[in-house]
Amino acid sequence: MSATLLTPESPEVAEPEEAKPDRLRPILATVWRWTSALGVALIIFSILLLTKGANPFQALGDMFKLTFTSSRSVQEIFIQMAPLVLGALAVAVPARAGLTNVGGEGQIIIGAVAACGAFLFLGDSAPGGLIIVAMFAASMIAGALWAGIAALMRLWAGVNEAISTLLLNFVALDILLFLIYQPWRESRTGQPTTRELVDTAKLPVISGTQVHIGIIIAVVVTVIVWAVMRYTRWGFKIAVAGGNAEAARRSGLNVSMLVLSALMIGGALAGLAGMIHFAGVEYKLRPGFGYQLGYTSFLACWLARHQPFPILVAAFVFASLSVAGDSLQLDSSLPAATINVLTALILMAVLGWTAKRKVSV
């Protein structure tokens, strides 16, 4: 035997500590997957345009030009992006704890309702700064409590949060409709809306633009969420609970509290999204307030694989598509819904393309 005096050379032991995974390669791989997926989606979409008798190069080129070269529509993109970012973070945080929050739609409505309530309660005479602060606080607390209902249903009755958050969306919509048709309605005769915010309670715009500060809030919150998930104890604990609840329980973590807190933080973020959409764009509650914002955010979060910074990119893509949809309609007389086809194609292409290849056994 020749092997006698060798030291054990098991790769486990011999592996140098510096053998950290190459950081650049996964990023490049992600970028490549995204670009190729977008490419495929665009090709399919072009074929579709052809069958409709439109020239795809013309249509796509115009769409691109109208969307990204006019200052107005670029600003519009950033305005639409802000609540999408927050709504997607509202999905990402619970997802980290292994929870599916489909309740963004309702939490956004409830956040806006609470913000509006705070404004109506304080009235015109209160100083503008106070009103805004109260609106922010109310929206986040209300969103958190609304999501907390779903968390408690899960903890007490074992109801899956994907179902309960979804059902609560319909309840939230009913509450909104009740308020704007009845107690909060501005006038008996006009549209069913609430009174418009006073100017001091509206979100200020970034100077030199029409873009309200919601986008800045969204970016700052993204950084905070990233840092909390990455560096804090709580961030670590929800990752453990989300990765393997039994392992979390066995290591003494309070899994119930982690579920509750993660879902409530998600709700607070969605409530915040509702607040900035309300105080930055709509200024009044109306029947279609924030329509589909929650669901679009949910998709954006999936597109970003639940990661904070990619969420910024995904929200930008969705906001651009939505703005492009408007220009497409104006320009090439294609129905606005055409853009939904492109959105769906992109979503499917990116998700399908980037799914981890499962080893089939």
Binding site: M1, A3, S10, A19, F236, N254, V361
Partner: protein
């Protein structure tokens, strides 16, 4: 190899296979042959690259370099489906059956049976194949109700029914009780007599000697011994080939801890507890473990060992009865952990492993306070404590930056062992602590458990390996059907008597 004459040729010849995962050289130029009618044992320490090699042969991983020759023709095995087409079948260590379905339904999922499921005909086929190979598998049984050994036989049957001539078994015995190992080996023996080829991984040398005609030893991803006859080598020579050094026998020693005036490490009084199916799994259990005492739990698998450990750790609330650890009453897992409990779970992958996290992350999941940094957790401290503990315990865990989900089976166990056994615990509850470990690490783990005991911890150790228990325990409790059917003190250890107690016979 030249001793095989005539027209026979190997079922499989592997030549110079290489597979590297980034910096990890899992396999480097590995070669071996499996002949019809041969049981070929693949052995080597944890992380040696055994599972990686098997997965390349079964088409799960793709080699970086090297050749595979199946029955004389070079083959590119790029998927498990291709492997099955070539007559290669594999039983993984973590069995992949659907518990809610019957045996026949599970097999139907694996076999292309056309559009309509002809379950009745399939059941008949299963019965015939099962009889032919001596597997005693009932096609109509629900998989969820079968023991691990029975499930393994279902997997083997499934592999045989998909037309395999070469059957690969990755560590089949490490989850089996001794009686189940015997049953498995008689199946393997039967397959050998039918000219099947079998490639089997095991960490136990006596199993190699019982079952294998040929052995290949891997170390650090390279073949150290290739297609040799085990009988040409002594145990020491084989061990040295596997781990690069000799492994001494465990010297048994009695506990010297003075226990007067100290609270009992563990007391359980009048415990009745339900199992997962709602049945009464523990029936009136009372026991105490003193500080500095190592108590072994013997018993046939499923006699309540799992529930006993869980109740002791506050993980499973008992229906009646009381648990204390060093005098503190235990109501939930937090109580047990803060009283100073440490535990090695029965199934570490299911119960302690969080797939996306690194080894370092796992080192803090022990219920002790997280070391505080400026923001959040001070990972630097965790790292240096881990390094110190790793040097002290000597189980050589994987680099702390590695993701646990890519570690080999034995290396996952070593991470958990290092974390839990470095805690200076008051009570250590260790379920099958040496499961999946190579010889050197089994010995080292037993020594560490004795060191814990000598430092004053009470140790509760569950094992199905009587030899292991008899060589290390101060006292053995035998469990049968949720009861403690007998207690034997160190000096009187007697295999026969323990065996009788395990099947419920009177002491």
């Amino acid at each position: 190899m030249e001793q095989h004459v005539g027209p026979r040729r190997p079922l499989l010849a592997v030549l110079g296979l290489t597979k590297h995962f980034a910096a990890v050289k899992a396999n480097t130029e590995v070669s071996l042959e499996v002949w019809p009618g041969e049981v070929h044992a693949l052995v080597g320490e944890n992380g040696a690259g055994k599972s990686t090699l098997l997965k390349m042969i079964y088409g799960v991983y793709h080699p970086d370099a090297g050749q595979m020759i199946v029955e004389g023709t070079e083959a590119v095995i790029d998927s498990p489906a291709e492997a099955r087409r070539l007559g290669i079948g594999m039983v993984f260590q973590d069995l992949r059956l659907v518990p809610a379905l019957t045996v026949a339904e599970n097999i139907a999922l694996a076999i292309p049976t056309g559009v309509t499921l002809k379950l009745r005909a399939l059941s008949q086929q299963i019965r015939e194949a099962s009889d032919k190979h001596g597997l005693s598998v009932d096609p109509n049984a629900k998989v969820g109700h079968l023991s691990i050994g029975e499930r393994q036989r279902v997997e083997i049957l499934k592999v045989l029914m998909t037309g395999a001539k070469l059957v690969i078994l990755d560590e089949p015995t490490s989850v089996l009780a001794p009686q189940e190992v015997e049953a498995l080996f008689s199946v393997v023996e039967h397959l050998r007599s039918q000219d099947f080829g079998i490639l089997i991984v095991t960490h136990k040398l006596d199993e190699v000697r019982t079952i294998a005609n040929t052995a290949t030893v891997l170390r650090g991803g390279r073949t150290i011994l290739e297609n040799v006859k085990p009988s040409d080598y002594t145990n020491d020579e084989l061990i040295e080939a596997m781990v690069g050094k000799s492994v001494s026998d465990l010297t048994r020693r009695a506990s010297t801890v003075v226990t007067t005036d100290r609270a009992m490490a563990l007391t359980m009084t009048g415990i009745n507890a339900k199992g997962d199916q709602g049945n009464l799994a523990l029936k009136g259990i009372s026991l105490t473990i003193a500080p500095g005492e190592l108590v072994g739990i013997a018993g046939v698998a499923g006699s309540g060992q799992r529930e006993l450990c869980e109740v002791a750790l506050g993980l499973r609330p008992p229906v009646t009865g009381e648990v204390t650890i060093v005098g503190k009453k235990i109501g939930n897992p937090r109580d047990a952990l803060s009283a100073g409990a440490a535990s090695i779970p029965e199934d570490p992958v299911a119960d302690s492993i969080v797939g996306r996290l690194t080894v370092l992350h796992h080192m803090v999941l022990n219920g002790r306070r997280l070391p505080a940094g400026k923001v959040g957790i001070d990972w630097q401290t965790v790292k240096s404590t881990t390094d110190t503990n790793n040097d002290r315990l000597g189980l050589h865990i994987a680099a702390t930056s590695r993701n646990v989900s890519e570690l080999s089976g034995g290396n996952i166990q070593r991470v958990i062992l290092t974390r839990e056994l470095s805690l200076d615990a008051e009570l250590v509850v260790a379920a099958y602590p040496s499961r999946g470990l190579d010889i050197a690490n089994v010995r080292r783990t037993q020594e560490i458990l004795l060191e814990c005991r000598d430092k004053g911890a009470g140790v509760l150790m569950v094992s199905e390996d009587l030899d292991e228990l008899m060589s290390i325990a101060d006292r053995i409790l035998v469990m049968h059907d949720g009861h403690i059917s007998g207690e034997i003190i160190n000096a009187d250890f007697d295999r026969q008597r323990i065996g009788q107690l395990m099947i419920g016979g009177a002491a």
